[in-house]
């Protein structure tokens, strides 16, 4: 399929005259796709069972008649007033059992029976009506789902039922969770509730299971809709439009049965050296999203103007940024980019979430940039279509670690799982080495290097897979806080890093949660690097030290080690060093494994490669607002300009090029 550009459009917000002029301008601009009906429940069903699809028919036809493809949405994110008034169980109860009322979106209990019943009827109706429509190519279920926690009776019962499926009996649950602490033993299933009352520190096993249940409740809301759509619309795709990482949902799980991932991408920022702060540079976001299903994806809402709603209005996107960020998404696996939104709303809470065109309806600078992008994509769409991103370095990402480490901060300053992962990802990014960021339970075939931040919870299965990967010649990089717990969030009674101690060839004799205190390590060449958050004091059990602490009472104690394991090797990084250390370490690893990058990237320039059969397309994107010069390793042809480049590529501010 060609790579293409689309638009998010809300016909219910505009007059029919505007539909016509908007559709004409889209056609002229080369827009291929229009998403609509996202939050239009009250207009499509103004009273229970009173469906009004005629206006939507007309809207679809307005765009379809000009050759555009339509994506429709199920509107369950915005239960209308008549629904919440009539069926109070639709509205969630917050931690204090207060009703979460309409206002912004997402005011619904994920487990609400009424929402399911009335919503099913609606999804049934809309999906039957458009299943065969030649212009309607697929469906987005709901939008930006999140685990609006609810503490209603239904959710409480659902939680207990969920637990009963996972534990043979209360005795097992009490034992596995260690509820005997603080007399928390349950004598009856009915004593278990969701954490009403909120953030009081609680049993971590309970809290982790509760968070898993919350994520599954969102899955429930998605899946009953999916079931209807699959039944009625076998020839149309089904996706969801997800929020960015980090999030409390297990996106791997949520997308299991969907055709592809689509998501929001609003990276309204120039390049700055964010170090390990996530997700500012965007590349990690894109790699994470691509990794969810390990395939290409859509951006369903792409940056088009300054954001502003409950937050103040943000800066306007710098000239070139809208285009550069779209190409960046494509470079890292996006196959279609749908821009949010055509024109800024004149009404409602998102009046200042700016579209491509301002309230005035006079197309301006941003629209012209979008039109240029659309022309370029349409010109290259076929050539690039079908290409994929494939890498030999993988970073394992785990939703369970994110959740567990969020529940129990390991050190002052938080010790963010995702920030730490980002720090390692960033080191590769700056070197121009592509990384796949995949679920920690995925097979590792085809990779040479696997980087594994903090496997705080560790399963036997994953430990064995990593061992096998190393035995067969792979390079594994482990970090501190690995092997601390089992999957029930209970600490292991064995020396750290637990199930991976043998593979790492070290044990942790003691640790020091240094938090924000600035410490130092020294590597074999005598270079000093700053370190924060954590210090594992390592005792060698076969491994070899390659860096040592350089201060505090453990000065001279090993901080980073490498262990030969089978045909491969296992690194263990006992602290969180500054980015420069990861850069140095990974440079060495890449040299060892023959994966050294060809291009040396100036600051703020990103490289990503899409391949298609023999062809390799190298995307180079300057995310700064200054020109950048890249020295080429080999003469290339620019796909965008057709020019042949011998030695250098000069990218203007926010410039983009694709070399073949």
């Amino acid at each position: 399929m060609n790579i293409q550009i689309g638009i998010d459009y809300y016909p219910e917000q505009w007059s029919r005259e505007l539909w016509e002029s908007d559709a004409n301008l889209m056609q002229e601009t080369g827009v291929s796709t229009v998403r609509m009906a996202e939050f239009a429940w009250s207009r499509l069903e103004p009273a229970e069972g009173d469906y009004r699809f005629e206006w939507l028919d007309a809207a679809i036809d307005t765009f379809a008649s000009r050759g555009m493809q339509i994506v429709l949405c199920t509107p369950t994110n915005t239960p209308p007033n008549w629904l919440t008034a009539r069926y109070p169980d639709v509205l969630p109860l917050d931690e204090q059992l207060h009703v979460v009322r309409p206002g912004v979106r997402g005011h619904r209990c994920n487990n609400s029976p009424s929402l399911r019943r009335v919503g099913s009827a609606f999804v049934e109706a809309i999906s039957r009506r458009y299943a065969k429509h030649p212009a309607v190519i697929g469906w987005q279920i709901d939008n930006e789902m999140h685990d609006q926690e609810c503490h209603c009776d239904t959710c409480n019962q659902a939680f207990v039922a969920w637990l009963r499926q996972r534990y043979a009996d209360l005795e097992e649950l009490n034992r596995e969770w260690g509820t005997v602490v603080w007399s928390g033993e349950y004598g009856d299933w009915a004593e278990i509730t969701t954490p009403i009352g909120g953030g009081r520190p609680m049993n971590p096993s309970y809290m982790l299971e509760y968070k898993r249940f919350c994520s599954d409740s969102v899955g429930h809301l998605l899946n009953w809709q999916l079931e209807i759509l699959r039944r009625n619309c076998p020839e149309q795709f089904v996706t969801h439009n997800m929020w960015q990482y980090p999030n409390t949902l297990d996106y791997y799980d949520l997308h299991r049965e969907l055709d592809f991932v689509s998501f929001d991408y609003y990276p309204n920022e120039l390049y700055r050296d964010y170090g390990d702060r996530f997700p500012r540079n965007g590349a990690l976001t894109l790699d994470l999203v691509r990794g969810i299903k390990r395939q290409g994806f859509w951006v369903m809402e792409q940056l088009s103007g300054a954001q502003g709603a409950w937050m103040p209005i943000q800066r306007t996107p710098y000239p070139g940024l809208i285009r550069a960020r779209s190409w960046q998404a494509i470079a890292r696996g996006a196959d279609r980019i749908v821009h949010f939104r055509w024109r800024s709303a004149t009404v409602g809470a998102e009046q200042f979430w700016h579209g491509l065109i301002d309230h005035s309806n006079v197309p301006g600078r941003r629209f012209r940039e979008f039109a240029q992008l659309t022309r370029e994509v349409n010109r290259l769409g076929e050539r690039l279509g079908g290409s994929v991103v494939a890498n030999t370095v993988a970073i394992l990402h785990s939703h369970d670690q994110h959740t567990a480490l969020s529940l129990q901060a390991q050190a002052e300053g938080g010790m963010s799982y995702i920030d730490n992962l980002s720090s390692m990802h960033n080191a590769f990014l700056k070197m121009g080495v592509g990384t796949d960021v995949i679920n920690w339970t995925e097979p590792l075939d085809g990779y040479k290097i696997v980087v594994v931040p903090s496997l705080f919870l560790l399963s036997e299965e994953v430990a064995r897979r990593l061992e096998r990967f190393a035995e067969q010649g792979g390079t594994v990089v482990l970090t501190n806080r690995t092997g601390v717990k089992n999957m029930r969030n209970v600490c292991e009674m064995r020396p750290l890093p637990g199930l991976l101690a043998e593979a790492a060839g070290v044990v942790v004799s003691e640790y020091d949660a240094i938090g924000r205190s600035e410490h130092a390590i020294r590597d074999a060449q005598g270079r000093i690097f700053a370190a924060q958050q954590w210090c594992d004091l390592l005792e060698l059990r076969g491994a070899q030290a390659i860096a040592w602490y350089d201060n505090d009472f453990y000065e001279g104690v090993p901080a980073v080690t490498v262990n030969a394991f089978g045909a491969g090797q296992v690194y263990y990084v006992g602290t969180w060093p500054e980015p420069a250390y990861f850069h140095a370490l990974f440079e060495e690893l890449l040299a060892q494994t023959g994966l050294a990058p060809g291009l040396r990237l100036p600051e703020g320039v990103e490289l990503s490669v899409r391949t298609k059969g023999e062809a390799a397309f190298r995307f180079l994107i300057n995310l700064t607002n200054e020109p950048r010069v890249i020295e080429l390793d080999t003469p290339c042809v620019s796909l965008l300009t057709g020019e042949r480049l011998e030695r250098q590529l000069i990218l203007p501010a926010l410039g983009v090029d694709i070399l073949e």
Copy 2:
């Protein structure tokens, strides 16, 4: 009427022996007015219908017999315990539907039927008793009213009724508010509630109307009392004692039927250059208050000592400050100054809100200063009495803009309407040019320059009035965020500044909400000024640029313009420059219009002029704790010392003088 000094007194807090000694000391000191009975409901009506006015009679007589005038208050700010216990509807429900209980004051639902019924009976009784009392000159209704939001059923019904008066039907309301966004359409009036659950971002049209309703609810509570007082006490004045700006109440509306404005003035600070921070220097507060009814006003509670209650105790007023601040208030339009309070309370939550005399009951430094002030005012009161403040520069202030811009922050850092207005006011203040700060819907006759910060919401009527004012030779200064919306808080589909684009002779081709990011503009003389918050990129449509952006991608684009319009001119300021720019711009304007100030004021000295027939009294007040020298433009006589000044006025620290 003479200008006079009064005292706030709480006879119910002190023994009768103290009444006597206090009254003697007041008489000796020259106090003319005593306010009392402010929060004494439980003592005046200890059980429903059981009125006990005897002690108040005695208290009034104690002071009246020494020649003092009495102001009485209605006590509805403090419903007594028997009332709230017996009629639960008196207590408001907060956003989470929790009862707001007694503790501090103001624990009452503005729409409570019981409060109205029982309160009416009380106001009826007290007003009849004192309507003819020769010493009782007037009434204060309630105190420091504010929109304690309430979400009880009565308020919900009142809100819907309020809306039904303003919208023909639900269809109109849905259309005007754009409720179709996020399926928020109402199918039944009963679906509309107050924003229970609180700050969730909601439809801005709805939120603005709700805030207007809240202000009107306060007006309701005031007006049923006013109706009784007018009926029973036709010869006594009626006022309210309002909090300072900014506030969520529309004070223009609230005071429409009252005789004059009175308010709290606690400016316990020396002069510092607050730049555009409101309302520290006090002058703007006083100008705003004078502008509410465009006439003289009272200070009903004036600074007397360090404040302290729910907040920690503040610094004690610097020697001279109590006197200087009272003269400052008079200089800007106050006709009577009532000091809060005679002596610090020994009991209750405001024990440390210090009065003129400390707990010890030993009059000290502050009291001596008050006595000096009283002597001076009594000496000059007749001479100054009847004089008024009149200016030729007006700044338009709009409660609707304040509310709407508070609901939707336009840029990082908030972009405070009142701070921005203050920034412009401050430029005139420093030049010694008096400004009237009046409601944006007022007639503009008599002004030469009208400064108009952000008319975010713009009505046809106001736009036309400003155009007319310019056409007839006036100078108008507009700013960014003008003409964005209609009065329903809906964005206009026309180029900014909307209805005033023609008058301004510019359109905004794009804008950048720069927030706290420091930008720069350059004027025609090449001077560089810092700018923050916002940048409108201006396209000239007849206007002439007078300043340009000096950085970012819009370097060189016009930032400030002037347009000849009829016999006058319209300036448009597209960004929020630093105070120095407004100073430079307004200096030029004043020179053009021949309004240049006569005196050059040293830092921290304020000038205000009161006129009476031919006489003009120039008040010069040094708000610093260092001496200041003012070069005179003409020889003058000091009203305070009687001295003739040829060339210079030397004001000591916190010194005051009045020149004729």
Copy 3:
């Protein structure tokens, strides 16, 4: 009794195999005491009335059979799920009347009838079972009690009943509290409630009484258990294990009937110069705890590893710190040190509250340090046993002042009572002069110097006692905010310092709550010291000034004075000077009274003396991680090494020595 070392142990969290190996290791290490059954209610009574003591019998025997003494606990801190499910009155209602649910500990209404009934039956059962057990030496009631405020009907009624015992009638209460302010008069006892709805600023007399009631409610929960234990276990001691200061409980009152005080001591920090910040250096904590009953005490939970639970994991204790802090506690009066905990929990919310041994169950560095400590204590325990701490300087501490000053912050920055007390304590600490910190109502016999921070509330009795103390030759140091109020929290109508004005020979003519503003004072030698928070402007009435303000409008006004009073003298410090000033002032006082310290302590070294008959044991503890040299005033023998020291004692990092 010998000084000994114990362990907190939770048999219910570990297998019986671990009991055996743990008990063996404890025995080998020299542990003498094991505390258990602290939170084991659900395991000891899994359903109402179904007592299961067999496992506890076995656990006790496991340790008792190896010669260890057992302390048992009542488990009322952790009501089990069956109890709270069955009797909802057990759970407290918070300020918003939300149920406080189980999760962390302490989820119980202190006045709950069901908790009392079911809990009494349990305490009855467990106390009878172990009253005669030869290894069980005593009881800990509950744990870390605190005033979980509850607003249920029972608590409301209890509060009214409590008030009725203290006030003759409502008239008295209304008068004493000054409820007439803001119409707050009560017409019926039923109108009085606990402060439902929370922090709204309220009548300070009411708030103070409410806080006293809350503390008494905790006492109620403790006392019904105490009554049962005294009846059933006359030969065993009874204590509680309290949190550190500051706390909202009146610990003097709470411990009145207990045998001794025991408390939590987790000072996981090296020495830093905390100035007046409490309670970081630990010494004040220990002095306060010793002062509660003016006798030796236990540490029932002593630092053993990094803390971590709802807060992130803290730094690991520096090598030597566990031992040094235990000796520090002994030096200041602890007779037994029980370490929390043996091994880190693998389950529950306190997984990362580290014990002596890590999750791995491999004893490491911290355990070895503990073993060394235990050996040392066991060697010297008999020799030191029975020695006591006795000092000639007392600092008066008052829970009422702490409460009242917390309710009404006197100056920006809070003006913390306990921080200010700490600042004065710290000056003595640095000089090596021991201080007793005792309740302000205690007799003062035997002291030479009595330091009295802010007696904000002052009773006639205490004022007279201090006068008597001075008359008879004692030295009293008073500070600002003394004599402000009576014991009902009502301001006195007399010049400050109120009842002590005559003794101090000064009156406060005015004061300035300077808050964080940096001011200065100058002493007679011309030295300048910084001052913050408060400035009393003193007028001499017989006293002599010894320091004067050095800036602001009161430059030159007396700030510190001394007054000859009878055979003694009374100092008055009108501001809060920097620590150096107190150091200078107290040095002078000590010189005058002949109490000058013998040793000059290097920074970070603490001295405390325990005496036993003729013997005096000087404990010297280096709380830094660098060596320190102490010049001796006389040759000594080290009890720890047996070495004779002629001139110097060299303490290594975190070193300890005891000189005789």
